[in-house]
Point group: C3
Chain length 205, copies 3
Amino acid sequence: MFFPPDTETLQLMPAIDLAAAVAGSIGGALYAVRKKFVITGVLLIAIPASLGGGILRDILLGQLPPVALTQAGFYLPAAILPALLVFFLESVIKRLERLLFLVDALSLGLFACVGAQKALAFHLNWTAALMIGTLNAVGGGILRDILGGETPDVARPGALNSAAVIIGCAFYVALIELVEVNKYIICSLAVFLIFLLRVLSVRYD
Amino acid sequence: MFFPPDTETLQLMPAIDLAAAVAGSIGGALYAVRKKFVITGVLLIAIPASLGGGILRDILLGQLPPVALTQAGFYLPAAILPALLVFFLESVIKRLERLLFLVDALSLGLFACVGAQKALAFHLNWTAALMIGTLNAVGGGILRDILGGETPDVARPGALNSAAVIIGCAFYVALIELVEVNKYIICSLAVFLIFLLRVLSVRYD
Amino acid sequence: MFFPPDTETLQLMPAIDLAAAVAGSIGGALYAVRKKFVITGVLLIAIPASLGGGILRDILLGQLPPVALTQAGFYLPAAILPALLVFFLESVIKRLERLLFLVDALSLGLFACVGAQKALAFHLNWTAALMIGTLNAVGGGILRDILGGETPDVARPGALNSAAVIIGCAFYVALIELVEVNKYIICSLAVFLIFLLRVLSVRYD
């Protein structure tokens, strides 16, 4: 019943996974800085926000220890350095709030694609890939909100962010499964779709 | 130190596990609908409420990916369709609130038995089976409450629901370990006991 | 890529791990008693507070089922009996509040060392050991706070407890990796350092 994961499918992922981790770290640190956390508190929020979704994904896929730990030399700097940058450049960053919302929306799409793709590489079916992709995308933000003592944003009444992730993730999985197109292109399209849905949902909420 | 799980003991479980998942989905969706969540929010509450306890159980037993993912073709519909039904039939369901409390009490018992039984099938001892059974039963509800931004109901001061689960679970494990009776009968008795304790605890709280 | 864990390094741990579990159970039970929980609520808070950090550690290391379950005959009494003692001796314990803070500070150090050491025994590098040690130390308290419906203490703005854990954990990992000294001595020093930082951080907060 167990097949080794499809390594070719896995090749695209490390770069995207790390890019998403950087975006998650920035989002988590900004959240913590706004709440007036001290530097260790900022790190304790930013690291789960950055690596939490991927760790949950790897736990469910049974790839333990998770890549964030076996490759900690890459993942920990990706989770810590952007958070420190946000902490020390707080006054500058605040003016960039709009940019940060965009980075956040981008990270949702990147995480969703990485998660869905990894689940497919582990030979799970498309419904499972959809669940893993969504969890990978929203997991970090949920951990960030729980640690910060707030109702998780993704499940807030009226919010459409979760809709964006689920729709974009389904779009990605459907194209990967049904169409013979290069997966980099499909991934870019899905990330763009989730990004667009997020931006529109905020504008017309 | 590792023995393959006892497959005969596992045979009863899928049907009970799916029945509990359906009950958990209904409970989660009703909770989300009351809080005026939009449809994606309802799904993001109902799916963890439905599958969360079983996924936590499978993580602790090291059966990864969890059955909810390897058998996603069965478990995802069991988690999604009842939630959609609740969402679209909201006005009808509200009148059925009493029935839903009963369904919820039933699901606690089903999840507790499935969890305890699976732990025993994995050759854990009775204390561990008690922990897994309890976690399986209360896990989905705890996730639902956290995602909904409330203090987890199971740990609320004065509440006796957790007592019902622990007592019923201990009853189940004790009978399974000590008595030579068909396990379907024991399971039915334990589910009935937990159900009864829950109903009584609400009446006399 | 997978090596069996270094069993010699693991030998120190069970005693320390159990001692930390006892301290975690006392801390969790006191927290629940203060919030007027009934006895089952106290157990449902104390058990995760006691075993939660170690279970999260074992999940991330892929040692499943976690030792808290495979050795449930030791770990469950360590999690339950101190909690029952706190519950029944409530009036006496209250006068011992100062002692309990010290026990709590001690448990942070014990958990951090056990976690870091176990990660190194699983051949993870020092950054990963730092993450596992910190998670092991703060995990139980985070679960306790979430189940009790509060903002996790470890991430509260201004608090220096997390700083103590991270610094002490880094101190432990650095000495273990760099110095040829008996690891019992290093462990004692690190536990003492974390203990001292905690006490000072409360005094000068």
